[in-house]
């Protein structure tokens, strides 16, 4: 299955690129739906308490208003509290008077135009019985409690060997606290839902979603519907990064508004609301201790994590998971704890755990290298894990050593002078830093269908989502190669729960999960075409054994006589059917369980820091990644670069700040919540290290959407230390921390 195809691997342009750049790719809120009304969510002004009274009379009298829903008049939903999975969240659906966080939905106003709905929403008068909220977990570490689960990320705590004893007796130690701020995903496309009921028990949602099947399960549960009667459609996503992986309150509120008004209803979440009830990356406080002998060999590691969660749900940022497996060390203890605050429930955000966790671990490794007077790269090589230290399994593949080598060589790492403040250019201090990147190769059950029509065109479908990563393109490449078809004779479609079920586009698993399903469906279709041909007396291939056949340019051909060819369309045409169909459901590869599967990488970063003014600029990044088979060199590079741009924001800019007294977010827009702009992003040199992984899955791909952000923020922080001699352990590294 690891043979090279014609298209897989090539840096082909996105098949949907032209539609996107010409504005003809409709996003959820742009779907043309007849007679659509507009809903606007009114958010709570306070973060904790109850609604004492709510007056919607002025709103209801306002022109064009169809409904003003509050906890007083909203329909009671049978499954409002029902959880549909281990990481499901409690929604705020106007079912009671409780206020649990600022900007929580407390009313929904529906009108015939958006402007009228917005105006009427401003006329809703809410009085609160408010209590003092908790905005931050920082002063409440003593309340830390053990969460019930780490979701899909394994055990909450881990213990191997005896870390405390090993650390106590060690020669060299680093024990520091690293903190990362709350962050918000802020995809360009805000969350949006259009809800259309067909009668009482059938619902269609056009929803900006990373997981249409999960959204279907959730909304069906909330309204007590048969999931088969709920259809979720979403052909294009303007970024997700994790916040669109769950169906948040607004999805069900749109459906509620549509049911009450008897109209199709469109609800678009505003940018300020994007900071409130669609999840965020939680603040983390991480204590890391590394102990080594005089040669730099790690003898003991502990990583204790406290992250924030809401007052009503548990979400854990699994920061210490990579510490269990990244370096060979016999004595490792990790712990995850939570502290509650009066905030919306946090959620998965690009590389949850590894983004935040590698900042702490890889900063600490740099500090250990300084303490040992050792090159940071040499320290990592000294502790290279040849097998998975967490589970003792062999790696499905691991090319981290090659990432270090190629990255260091391209960057010129050997020319680094180890002393901080030893490199400068004019008034700017220059610093070089590096770090290790890692992310697990996830895979979930998925399915796909492939159809061949009499026109010789393959129509391949999988529910799935393309969250901007290039899913349409790579699936087309995979199907074309599996079928032996040119690209223009493959139509791949996704984004509809009427298509075969697939997992959420999260955890960098769409390519591995759904890519495997698409490949298997295409191969199954190919085999059906061959079977049909050899059984057909009218076929030039009649009576041949299937092993003697090949698939070339849209035809089944005899290997020993290429002139004997039966085009796919002709096979279907003679079969008497309108199409030949193969539907495949793929579990994860059985073989895979014997291995630990992760992507790895190495980041090398140069920063410059204005010595007087503290301004940090990333000057260049060289990053080498080994992530199994690269399916499309161009979209893969974009994914890696995108992750690194996120790491620049993570290290230097992004933070969601809440007022300490009101717990309202004060960074409510993209002027106050900084993400990198073009001028912040230097040339990023990405090296894709070739890696053949026969074990990980059918297509040999490990997933590339998230690894880019891991490690790199620590590499930047390490470079800032090298430039300035100042170790900043509290992100982001804003200039005031360097003055």
């Amino acid at each position: 299955m690891s043979e090279r195809g014609l298209f897989v691997g090539q840096g082909l342009d996105r098949v949907d690129g032209r539609l996107k750049v010409t504005g003809r790719a409709p996003y959820a809120a742009e779907t043309a739906v007849a007679n659509v009304a507009h809903a606007v969510i009114v958010g709570s002004a306070v973060a904790k308490g109850t609604i004492a009274s709510i007056d919607t009379r002025a709103a209801e009298r306002s022109p064009g208003v169809l409904a003003a829903l509050t906890h007083v008049n909203a329909p009671k939903l049978p499954g409002a509290e029902k959880k549909v999975g281990p990481v499901d969240r409690r929604l705020q659906l106007l079912q009671d008077d409780a206020v649990l966080y600022a900007d929580q939905p407390v009313a929904v106003v529906v009108a015939d135009t958006l402007e009228r709905a917005q105006h009427a929403a401003s006329l809703v008068v809410v009085r609160y019985a408010a209590q003092d909220p908790r905005a931050s977990i920082d002063d409440h570490q003593g309340e830390a409690f053990k969460p019930a689960s780490l979701g899909p990320r394994g055990e909450v705590d881990s213990n191997r060997g005896d870390a405390d004893t090993a650390i106590a007796g060690a020669k060299v130690k680093v024990a520091e606290t690293y903190t990362t701020p709350a962050q918000n995903h802020n995809p360009m496309e805000p969350h949006a839902t259009i809800a259309v009921w067909q009668g009482e028990s059938s619902l269609t949602l056009y929803d900006a979603s990373q997981g249409i099947f999960g959204a279907r399960r959730k909304v069906a549960a909330v309204f007590g519907l048969d999931p088969a009667r709920v259809r979720v459609i979403n052909h294009y996503v303007g970024g997700g990064f994790g916040c669109k992986g769950s169906a948040w309150s607004h999805v069900a509120l749109a459906a509620m508004a549509a049911r009450v008004t008897g109209r199709a209803v469109k609800l678009v979440v505003t940018r300020p609301q994007m900071f409130a009830f669609v999840g965020h990356r939680p603040r983390t406080v991480q204590n890391v201790t590394l102990a080594a002998d005089a040669t730099g060999t790690l003898v003991g590691v502990t990583h204790d994590v406290v992250s924030e969660t809401s007052s009503f749900d548990e979400f854990v940022e699994p920061c210490a998971v990579q510490t269990r497996m990244l370096y060979a060390c016999p004595n490792v203890r990790t712990r995850h704890r939570l502290v509650r605050a009066d905030i919306g429930t946090p959620t998965f955000q690009r590389a949850p755990g590894e983004s935040t966790g590698t900042f702490a671990l890889e900063s600490a490794m740099d500090e250990l290298a300084v303490a040992l007077a050792m090159d940071p790269l040499a320290l990592r090589l000294r502790n290279y894990a040849e097998t998975d230290p967490a589970e003792g399994k062999p790696w499905s593949s691991k090319s981290l050593r090659e990432c270090y080598r190629q990255g260091a060589e391209r960057f010129g790492w050997a020319r680094r002078t180890p002393k901080p403040r030893s490199m400068r250019r004019g008034r700017r201090l220059i610093g070089w830093g590096m770090a290790t990147a890692t992310y697990p190769a996830n895979q979930s059950k998925s399915s796909a269908v492939a159809r061949m029509g009499i026109d010789g065109v393959a129509r391949v479908q999988a529910g799935s989502q393309d969250i901007g990563t290039g899913t349409y393109t790579i699936m087309t490449q995979i199907a074309a190669d599996a079928l032996g078809l040119p690209l223009e004779r493959v139509r791949f479609d996704l984004g509809d729960t009427a298509m075969p079920e697939t997992p959420v586009s999260g955890g960098s698993q769409t390519a591995s999960s759904t890519g495997s399903a698409v490949k298997m469906a295409a191969l199954a279709l190919r085999d059906k075409l061959a079977t049909t041909a050899v059984a057909d007396k009218a076929s030039p291939l009649f009576g041949r054994s299937e092993g003697s056949l090949d698939f070339v340019d849209g035809a089944v051909v005899a290997k020993d006589d290429p002139k004997k060819a039966d085009p796919f369309g002709a096979i279907v045409s003679r079969s008497g059917q309108s199409e030949i169909v193969a539907l495949v459901e793929t579990p994860a590869k059985e073989d895979r369980k014997k291995y630990a599967a992760h992507s790895f990488g190495a980041d090398f970063v140069e920063v410059s820091v204005d010595e007087d003014l503290g301004e940090v600029r990333v000057m260049r990044v060289v990053a080498a990644f080994a992530a199994g088979r690269i399916l499309n060199a161009k979209t893969a590079r974009s994914q890696f670069i995108g992750g690194i741009v996120w790491a620049i924001g993570f290290a230097l800019e992004e933070q969601t700040l809440r007022d300490p007294r009101t717990a309202r977010v004060v960074t409510r827009d993209l002027a106050d919540y900084h993400v990198p702009v073009h001028a912040d992003v230097p040339a990023i040199d990405v090296i894709s290290v070739d890696e053949d992984d026969p074990h990980v899955n059918e297509i040999g791909a490990k997933g590339i959407g998230e690894i880019g952000i891991t490690g790199c923020s620590a590499a930047i922080a390490n470079a800032v230390f090298h430039a300035t001699g100042k170790r900043v352990r509290d992100l982001p590294i804003t200039l005031d921390k360097l003055l």
Partner: protein
């Protein structure tokens, strides 16, 4: 957004006659944003884009910039780029090309603060809702002012352009609904918040900014704007400095120092200027002037760093300016 009436004025007289109870709209880059947030709720808008106020006229006496001249056009105007570089640099350091193409000179003079508490109608703000209290004091105040503050308001004036204009002795030309014209020195145009943060400038109701004039001075041509911020572009200043020097015979004969990002209004620092005049340019002189500039600063815990940063920024701006010439 509140419902509002909209009138596109045909000429100045028409605009002034329609001004009662209305708000003028120029490029709309501040006003429309704040209307959408529910922070500004004008009952009527009078659009002044058709008034023919977009011209930039230069002669021997200086430059006369129409109130509707776009930031981009002002920034790249050859006379301004050559003879008033601080203004060109300030404009180009602000916002984004798209915003600069919309934003106007008059509108930017009236730019409202970016204080997050002002911009969130659910937060307390004396500027938006007089008497409601100040959310920023005791809240998140990293971006806030340390000069010209009061116990009612510490909101920073966000404009880059205005910091340059205060250092260029600019004059704001206005016309009142009565037809009366006024010339207001730029340093007198904006007001510190004091007890009334809701009053931000000396304009009377209906009074229309028609032009901003730049006089010809000995120091304008040797001027510079330096902006320090949290990212390389598209960010408001943490600190900025607009500096202009007339050096003759190795001695600073005349100078101007404007500071941005640290004050409640475009800040001209008389103490800094006093520290520079009559001295030979040197880092020590610059540093002493910077100390004088920030002597009366009052910080919150979050923005205390701005005091030292402002000093360093001012020194750097002066060093860069003297190195350049």
């Amino acid at each position: 957004m509140e419902p509002f009436r909209y009138l596109r004025a045909e000429d100045e007289r028409h605009a002034l006659a329609a001004s009662k109870g209305a708000t003028y709209i120029a490029g709309g880059t501040t006003l429309v944003d704040l209307m959408r947030l529910g922070v500004m709720r004008p009952r009527a808008l009078v659009d002044i884009s058709g008034l023919g106020l977009a011209a930039i006229d230069a002669d021997d006496g200086g430059v006369r910039i129409g109130a509707m001249a776009r930031n981009t056009d002002v920034a790249v105007h050859p006379v301004i780029a050559a003879s008033y570089p601080v203004l060109s640099e300030a404009l180009l350091s602000g916002a984004s090309p798209q915003l600069r193409n919309m934003a106007t000179t008059g509108g930017n003079v009236l730019q409202r603060t970016r204080c997050a508490y002002f911009r969130d109608p659910a937060a307390r703000c004396n500027k938006r809702d007089p008497g409601a209290g100040c959310g920023a004091i005791g809240g998140h105040a990293r971006m806030h002012a340390v000069l010209g503050v009061s116990d009612r308001c510490i909101a920073t004036h966000p404009s880059d352009m205005c910091v340059a204009l205060v250092a260029l002795d600019a004059v704001v030309r206005t016309r009142a609904p009565s037809g009366a014209e006024r010339a207001i020195a730029f340093a007198d145009f904006h007001l510190e918040p004091g007890a009334h943060p809701e009053v931000e400038n000396v304009l009377a109701p209906g009074e229309l900014i028609t032009h901003v004039e730049l006089p010809k001075t000995a120091f304008s041509a040797r001027s510079h704007y330096l902006k320090v911020r949290d990212r390389a572009s598209y960010a408001f200043a943490l600190v900025s400095a607009a500096v202009a020097l007339h050096v003759d015979g190795g001695v600073i004969r005349e100078c101007r120092v404007g500071l941005g990002g640290v004050a409640t209004k475009p800040w001209r620092s008389a103490p800094a200027e006093a520290g520079l005049v009559g001295k030979s340019p040197s880092v020590a002189v610059f540093r002493a002037a910077a100390e004088a500039a920030m002597k009366d600063a009052t910080a919150q815990p979050d923005n205390a760093f701005k005091i030292e940063l402002a000093k360093r920024t001012l020194v750097r701006a002066l060093v860069e300016l003297t190195e350049r010439a």
